[in-house]
Point group: C2
Chain length 190, copies 2
DNA sequence: GCGATATCTAGTCAGGGTCAAGTTCGGGTT
DNA sequence: AACCCGAACTTGACCCTGACTAGATATCGC
C-alpha cells in the first residue's frame, strides 16, 4: 500500500475499523477485543475509533447491525432459492459458522446497544424470516409461534454448541450436513 | 460476620470470592468481570484472589467446574425423579435460567481453562446425562447420538435465546412451561 | 512457646477505554 | 485566489484493570 507515509484522511476508516474488529474478534473473541489493537491494525491512532463510533460499544453496535443484515439476507436467499423452511435453518447454521465474529457479537447484547435503531431494524427483518415462512406453509410440520421458536432454538443451539467446541466429538463430519440431519427431528406436534 | 474490624484470615475466601464473582457476573456479564471488584465485594485486598485462583481465568475455571457439577446433579435428579428424558431437557433450561452466571461462563471456553481436570470431569458427568438416558430408552422417540445432539441443541438454544432476551416477546409466559412445550416438537426421525 | 506455612496486604508496572485539546485536510464562499 | 469552516484524525492525559513481587500477619503443628 501507498509508500507515502500515510494520508491524514484514511478514506473509509469506519469500514476498515469494522473489518479489523471482525478479524480481531475471530482471533480473541468479542470480549477481549481492544479498541487500540483495532486502531493499530487499521493503521490509525488509538483515538480514531472514538470519532466514528463513540466508544467500544458503538463499534460493536455497528458490527451487530451489519451481522443482522447479513443474516436476514442469507435467510431470505435460502428460502427463496429452495422454498423450504428447513433450508432456512441450515442457512442459519451456515451463517453462524461462516460469520462467527458477527454471530458472537449479535447474541451478546451486553456488549453493544441493542436498542440502536439500525440494529432493531435489521433484527426485525431477520426475525421475520424465522417467524414468517412457516406461517406461509400451512402444510408444514412446524407451525405457529411455538414451532418457530422450537426451530430457531434448535438451529441456534446447534450453532452455539458447535462454536463453543461442544459438538466436535459427537459430530465428526461436516457441520452443515449435521445441521440438516438435526432438523429432521423436528416434527408435527402431538 | 465478626464485628471485629476484620480477621486477617477470611476463613473461606475461595468460596466467598466465587460467590462475589457469581453476583457480579449476574450484574455485568462474565466478560466485564473485574477481579478487583470481586475482591472489593469480598472485603479483601485486590491481590488476594490471585493467591487462591492464580489469575482471572483460574477464578472462572472454578466457576465453570462448579457449574458443570450443579448441572450434572440437576439433570440426574430430574431423570431419576421423573424417568422422562423430556424432563431432563426442561431441567437443563431451568438450570440455565436459575444459574445464569454459571451457565454463561460454562459456554464461553475462551474465558477459562476448559482442559482443567475438575472441569473435564464435571463436564463428562453432565454430558453423560444428555447422551446416556436416550440410549436406555430404546422405545423413546429420540435415539442415537444425532437425537441427543438435536435434543441438546433444542434446549440449549432455547436457554441461550431466552438469556439474551430474544424470546421475551414471542414467549410471554413461564419459560419453563414454554421449554416443555418446545420439546414436544422433537419426534421420531423419518 | 516457636518456627513453618498458608494467607493476605501493599506497591508497582504495563495495557486499555475514554476524554479534551490540538492538528491537518477538503470543499465551499467571497 | 485567498479565506475559512468543519470534519477527520492525532496527541496526551487520567483512571481502571490484571498481573507480579515483596513483605506483613495469623494459624497450625510440634
Amino acid at each position: 500500500m501507498a509508500q507515502s507515509p500515510r494520508p491524514y484522511h484514511h478514506g473509509d476508516l469506519p469500514r476498515a475499523l469494522i473489518a479489523a474488529a471482525l478479524e480481531l474478534i475471530d482471533e480473541v473473541g468479542p470480549a477481549a477485543l481492544s479498541l487500540r489493537e483495532v486502531a493499530r491494525r487499521a493503521g490509525v491512532s488509538h483515538g480514531a475509533p472514538a470519532h466514528h463510533f463513540g466508544d467500544k460499544a458503538g463499534l460493536l453496535t455497528a458490527v451487530a447491525a451489519q451481522g443482522y443484515e447479513l443474516l436476514g439476507a442469507a435467510l431470505a436467499d435460502a428460502f427463496e432459492s429452495t422454498g423450504e423452511f428447513r433450508e432456512v435453518g441450515v442457512a442459519y447454521v451456515r451463517f453462524a459458522l461462516s460469520h462467527r465474529a458477527h454471530f458472537e457479537v449479535m447474541f451478546r447484547p451486553e456488549l453493544y446497544r441493542d436498542d440502536d435503531p439500525a440494529v432493531v431494524a435489521a433484527r426485525v427483518r431477520s426475525s421475520a424470516m424465522l417467524y414468517g415462512p412457516p406461517a406461509d406453509l400451512s402444510g408444514d410440520a412446524v407451525t405457529g409461534v411455538d414451532g418457530a421458536v422450537a426451530a430457531w432454538s434448535l438451529v441456534h443451539g446447534f450453532a452455539t454448541l458447535w462454536l463453543s467446541g461442544n459438538l466436535e466429538r459427537a459430530v465428526p463430519g461436516d457441520p452443515e450436513d449435521a445441521a440438516r440431519a438435526i432438523t429432521g427431528f423436528l416434527s408435527i406436534r402431538r
